[in-house]
């Protein structure tokens, strides 16, 4: 297998929680720990044998400062370990861990992320990630901003409400084979949340966690029968101001995909972090995905969207299909910020059989 990077790095294990509307009986560490145990057990590694640990979460979801320290007890942080944290989706924690392995400072990495949306009102909480001068004082919530994007797509003739409903229905049907999904099977499309988006176009709000183990070269081959090699990974950001961007396209996703080598060869699977049905339309176009590609066979974010974990889960789901021999070459995508502002694209490949 060829790689453009200094070292070959693969996803060798993936685990996630059963995503639920609320998990009041569990503290953050109590929710994360079973997932950590599961992912480590899959590799046979003990916590102390991991070279680097990186997590993703958000203080605004938890409503308290330095909230990520609450879950460090779950990774065996004593005696001291090499550890870092990103205040965003765990997909970016995975990127940091991948860089750490590329530098040769670690051969293995544990990446985990989690979010409990249930303690607060996540639509209001997410307004606090907006520009504080021009946007945040107006409290435009995440559904409202996605709805502006959806209307722009409808006006451009790229989709309509019926096509959007079909995306939600297809996702929730696919989630029928995903035991971790929060929503699966037929779900009423419901009334408008913010027109043109109906309940069925929006992600469920829930709590959940995910974890991935990365390993380099022969270590990956030793830990996993069919490693999911990361043959390309890149992330890009674009202007914060929605009025500066073409909301019907995602240039940052396309640029990241180019740099990750997505367009060098076809993919059979795409795990897209599209919390709103309309965003799948934008991402399919940006990534040039045709009908032959299985898009979100896990159900995607319309079936379970635990904040800060849903992007890492896309990478994990894509890797798991390669582990199971169901995919040869897959693309995984993660997003953060309003209307797909920041995007990460990873290309994962199995060894030729």
């Amino acid at each position: 297998m060829r790689t453009r990077y200094a070292r070959e790095v693969a996803v060798v294990a993936f685990a996630q929680s059963d995503h639920q509307r609320r998990t009041d009986e569990l503290s953050e560490v109590e929710m994360v720990m079973p997932v950590l145990h599961q992912v480590l057990a899959a590799t046979g590694l003990k916590a102390g044998e991991i070279g680097f640990t990186c997590s993703g979460s958000s203080d605004y979801l938890a409503g308290r400062a330095f909230s990520f320290t609450m879950t460090l007890d779950g990774v065996g942080a004593w005696p001291p370990i090499s550890e870092s944290h990103v205040e965003t989706d765990g997909a970016w924690a995975l990127y940091e861990a991948w860089v750490k392995i590329q530098t040769g400072e670690a051969d293995t990495a544990l990446v985990y992320s989690y979010g409990k949306s249930s303690p607060g009102s996540v639509r209001d909480v997410l307004t606090r990630q907006l520009d504080p001068y021009y946007l945040a004082p107006l409290w435009p919530d995440s559904v409202a901003l996605a709805a502006l994007q959806a209307q722009a797509l409808i006006d451009a003739g790229e989709t309509d409400e019926q096509a959007l409903a079909a995306i939600g229905a297809r996702s929730r049907t696919a989630a029928g084979s995903n035991p971790h999904a929060q929503l699966s099977g037929p779900v009423p499309q419901g009334g408008y949340q913010v027109r043109p988006l109906r309940t069925g176009d929006c992600p469920p709000i829930g709590d959940g966690a995910a974890a991935v183990v990365l390993a380099a070269g022969d270590t990956a081959r030793r830990l996993c029968e069919r490693p999911a090699w990361i043959t390309g990974i890149d992330h890009r950001i674009e202007a914060h101001g929605l009025g500066l961007r073409d909301l019907t396209d995602s240039l940052s996703t396309r640029t990241a995909a180019e740099h990750a080598g997505l367009f060098d060869a076809p993919v059979d699977t795409a795990e897209l972090h599209a919390p709103f049905s309309s965003q799948e339309v934008v991402l399919r176009k940006a990534l040039g995905l045709g009908d032959a590609v299985a898009v979100n066979p896990s159900g995607g974010a319309l079936a379970a969207n635990p904040m800060m974990a849903a992007g890492l889960i896309r990478i994990g789901e894509a890797a798991a299909r390669i582990h199971r021999g169901e995919s040869r070459r897959a693309v995984a995508h993660a997003t953060s910020g309003p209307c797909l502002q920041q995007n990460l694209v990873a290309v994962l490949e199995g060894d030729p059989s």
Binding site: S27, E30, G63, G76, D124, P137, L138, Q151, D155, L242
Partner: protein
């Protein structure tokens, strides 16, 4: 408790409020001061486009941009979304449309609310104008909202020096978020026991250390701690400091002693104030017990038990 019964978990309201004071750069200052004066300013980017609302750096080249222009308070909707159930703190309390509006003379769009009777009265391409707030302070909310209007696009951007008397140089970004906090299984058990004036920890099944207060996991072994253990009530001072600064709203005479206290049976020390003994007589190894006040939800302080001091070897691992 049977395995089937759901655990009783504590819950309490948690409010996070943060009035961040933020300073403005020259361009944002001119824009927000302009709103206070009923004037909408934009900035010209390096490729000649007019950006409203303005930024101080070009979004394409990252060059500093300073050339201010005035645009019209009328514009065209570029996209919209009907908000049938306004949320608290949003610009209008009645159903409204979120809109991106390209003001006449501008090349980019501004986000705000549009006051309209219903979704049938809103469309992309419709003409709207600014409705100014009755009282203006130099904030984006000085635009109360947009409202529909008639008329074609008028005017192009005109140069503006951006100079106003008494410019706005900062904003206070106020926010309040409401949560329902739940401490989870382990800490709920700890807090419930405290209400009976007992202290419970949890033992790690792997290294057998007893954590107080328990958080549900052993940080050394990374495993769940489920075996509940009552510790104390008495304990040993493992280390301490003398506090000489009076904390605001705290009715305690200085100097006083704050100490780490290893409760009997606990695998690590928790902290508390030492009372009932002159501050300069507190020492490592001193045996202490909790003192509860009426209605107190945790020990007010710890006082000497009168027992002989603990041997250093008995607590040196807990320092």
């Amino acid at each position: 408790m049977t395995a089937a019964s759901p655990p009783e978990v504590l819950r309490a309201p948690l409010v996070v409020e943060f009035p961040f004071t933020r300073s403005l750069g020259p361009v944002q200052s001119a824009f927000l001061t302009g709103l206070r004066e009923g004037v909408v300013l934009g900035v010209r980017t390096s490729d000649g486009r007019v950006m409203v609302p303005p930024a101080e750096y070009d979004p394409v080249t990252a060059e500093e941009i300073r050339e201010l222009v005035e645009v019209a308070p009328t514009g065209t909707v570029t996209t919209w979304a009907w908000n049938g159930e306004p949320r608290p703190q949003q610009p209008l309390g009645t159903p409204f449309a979120w809109v991106l509006v390209r003001l006449d003379g501008a090349d980019t769009a501004i986000l705000h609310a549009l006051d309209a009777p219903g979704p049938d009265a809103v469309s992309t391409g419709m003409r709207v104008r600014v409705r100014w707030a009755a009282e203006r302070t130099g904030a984006i909310t000085d635009i109360a909202c947009f409202e529909p209007c008639e008329g074609r696009e008028r005017g192009s951007a005109r140069p503006h020096d951006g100079v106003f008397a008494d410019p706005v140089t900062g904003i206070v970004a106020e926010a309040r978020l409401d949560y329902t906090y739940s401490p989870g299984r382990a800490q709920t058990a700890y807090i419930n026991a405290l209400s009976e004036r007992r202290t419970v920890g949890e033992r790690c099944p792997s290294c057998h250390k007893v954590y107080v207060p328990p958080r549900g996991a052993c940080p050394t072994c990374g495993v769940a701690t489920t075996d509940r253990v009552e510790v104390g009530p008495a304990g040993t001072v493992t280390t301490f400091c003398i506090v000489n600064i009076k904390a605001r709203n705290l009715d305690i005479e200085v100097p006083y002693v704050y100490a780490h206290i290893a409760l009997d049976g606990a695998g690590l020390a928790l902290h508390g104030r030492i009372g009932g003994i002159p501050y300069d007589q507190v020492r490592m190894g001193l045996r202490v017990e909790p003192v509860w006040t009426d209605g107190g939800r945790y020990p007010d302080h710890y006082r000497p038990t009168g027992e002989p001091d603990a041997d250093y070897d008995a607590y040196k691992e807990l320092l």
